[in-house]
Amino acid sequence: MLVTTSEIKINGELLTELPLDLYIPPDALEVYLESFEGPLDLLLYLIRKNNLDILDIPMAKLTVQYMDYVDKMRAINLELAADYLLMSAMLIEIKSRMLLPTPAEVEEEDDPRAELVRRLMEYEAIKLAAQRLDEMPKVGEGFQVAHAYYQHIAEIKPPEVDVDALVEAWKNVVKRAKLNSNHQLGRAELSVREHMSLVLRRLQAGGMCEFSELFDFETGGLPKLVVNFLAILELAKEGLIKITQQAAFSTIYLQASNVE
C-alpha cells in the first residue's frame, strides 16, 4: 500500500500519473508543489510512486531535477523555494560524499544517505500519525457531550467595602481637592457630623421637636451630649434647622428647615 497523496489537479484535470522522468510542466509546477507539504513530502512521494529503493535513490538525477524545480520556483514563491533549495543542497552533499573514495577506516553505517533515510522515515511516521489524529472522533464531530442548561439564579452579591478602601477613596478626594489645610477632620468633628445627620434624620418625621428630646441623658455620657449640642449648633449655623422659643425660659423647639 502506498502512502496516499492529495489529489493533484492541473487545469481541472486530475493528474494521476507522474511521468517516470519526473518531469513536471513548468506551468503546473506551482499547483503541483502546493499539494505537497514540502521537499520531504515530495521526495517521499517520488520514492513511493516509483517504487524506488530508498538506498538506491538516483542521487544525480534527483538532484538535477530538484535544482530545476528550485530555479522555476524562485520566480513564484521564494519562501517555498528556500525549503527545496535546502533539500537540494542536502542531496548534492549526499551525492558528493558518495562520489568520494571511502577511506578504509570509515565504518559501514556512515552511509551519507543514512540521515536522509532517517528523516524520510520520521516524516512518514508523522504523516501517518497526523492521518490517524485526523480520523479520531472529536468532541462535536464523533461524539456529543451533555450541555443541558441551568438557570443562573445566584443572588448577585454587592461589592465588599472595608474601612481601608473608604479611607483610600477619601485620601484621593482630598488630594485632588487640595482640602488638606482647611478641612482636617478629627474624631470630634466626625462625631459632630454623625450627630448632625442623626438629628436631621429624626427631625424629618416632621413637626416640632423639643430641644431636650434630642439629648439622650441615660446612655450618652457627657462627651456625647456635648457633641450632640455642637451638632445642633452646626445645623443651625448651616441653616438646616430652625430653633424657636416663644418666651424666655420656655421650651425650645427645633424644626428641620425643609419640613413645614
Binding site: 438557570q151 452579591k157 472595608d162 481637592a177 482636617q184 457630623r193 445627620s197
Partner: protein, 183 residues
C-alpha cells in the same frame, strides 16, 4: 443505519439529542433526527412523555421561544452555581469617593459632592449607594432647588463593622502620615 424500532428507542434518541444540544431544539430540528420518518404529532407526544419521565429527576424539559431544552431544576441550580462563584464586583472610583465624601462630610448635597470632586455626580452613583442602604436623604438644604442632604446610614456602619463614624480613621492620621520623614 437502521432506524429506531420502538417508542423507547425514539425517546432515547430525543433525550440524548436534547441533553447534548447547546441550544434549544425546535420541532423541525428534532424531526431531522428521524430523517423525516416521524409525524409532528408523534414527536409532540414523545416530548410530553419525556417531560413526564423527567418530572421526578434532576432536570426539567421545558419549552422556550426557540424550542425545547433540558435545564437543571431550580432547587439544584443553587448547588450548581457554587461551581462558578461570581467574582466579587467592585465599586467604581466615583462610587467610593462619593461614599467617602458623604461619610466624612455629611450631611452633604450633590452640589457639595460635585464641588469637592470637581465633576458632576452621575445619578447612577447615588442610586447604587441608596439601593445598598448605605446612604439616605436626611433633609433638604433651604436654598433654591432645595437639594437633598445625604448622610450615611446605620446599615453602612454595620456593614463596615463600625459602631460610630468616629471610629473611621480621623483625617489627621493620614494627612500627617504622608510625610513620615523621621521614624
Amino acid at each position: 443505519m437502521r432506524g429506531p424500532e420502538n417508542v423507547a428507542e425514539m425517546k432515547g434518541i430525543l433525550e440524548a439529542a436534547l441533553l447534548t444540544a447547546s441550544q434549544p431544539l425546535s420541532l423541525d430540528d428534532m424531526l431531522k433526527l428521524f430523517a423525516g420518518r416521524m409525524e409532528r404529532a408523534t414527536l409532540r407526544m414523545l416530548l410530553d412523555e419525556l417531560k413526564q419521565d423527567w418530572e421526578d429527576r434532576t432536570l426539567d424539559l421545558i419549552q422556550v421561544a426557540t424550542g425545547y431544552r433540558f435545564q437543571a431544576k431550580p432547587e439544584l441550580s443553587a448547588f450548581i452555581v457554587r461551581l462558578n462563584p461570581e467574582r466579587q464586583p467592585r465599586y467604581s472610583r466615583a462610587v467610593m469617593e462619593t461614599l467617602a465624601i458623604i461619610a466624612y462630610r455629611q450631611p452633604v448635597t450633590r452640589g457639595d459632592i460635585e464641588q469637592i470632586r470637581g465633576v458632576a455626580v452621575n445619578p447612577n452613583v447615588m442610586r447604587q449607594l441608596v439601593e445598598r442602604d448605605w446612604v439616605d436623604v436626611v433633609g433638604q438644604r433651604e436654598v433654591p432647588g432645595r437639594p437633598s442632604l445625604y448622610a450615611t446610614t446605620k446599615h453602612f456602619l454595620d456593614d463596615l463593622n463600625l459602631c460610630s463614624l468616629s471610629e473611621l480613621p480621623p483625617f489627621e492620621d493620614f494627612s500627617q502620615s504622608e510625610v513620615p520623614l523621621s521614624s
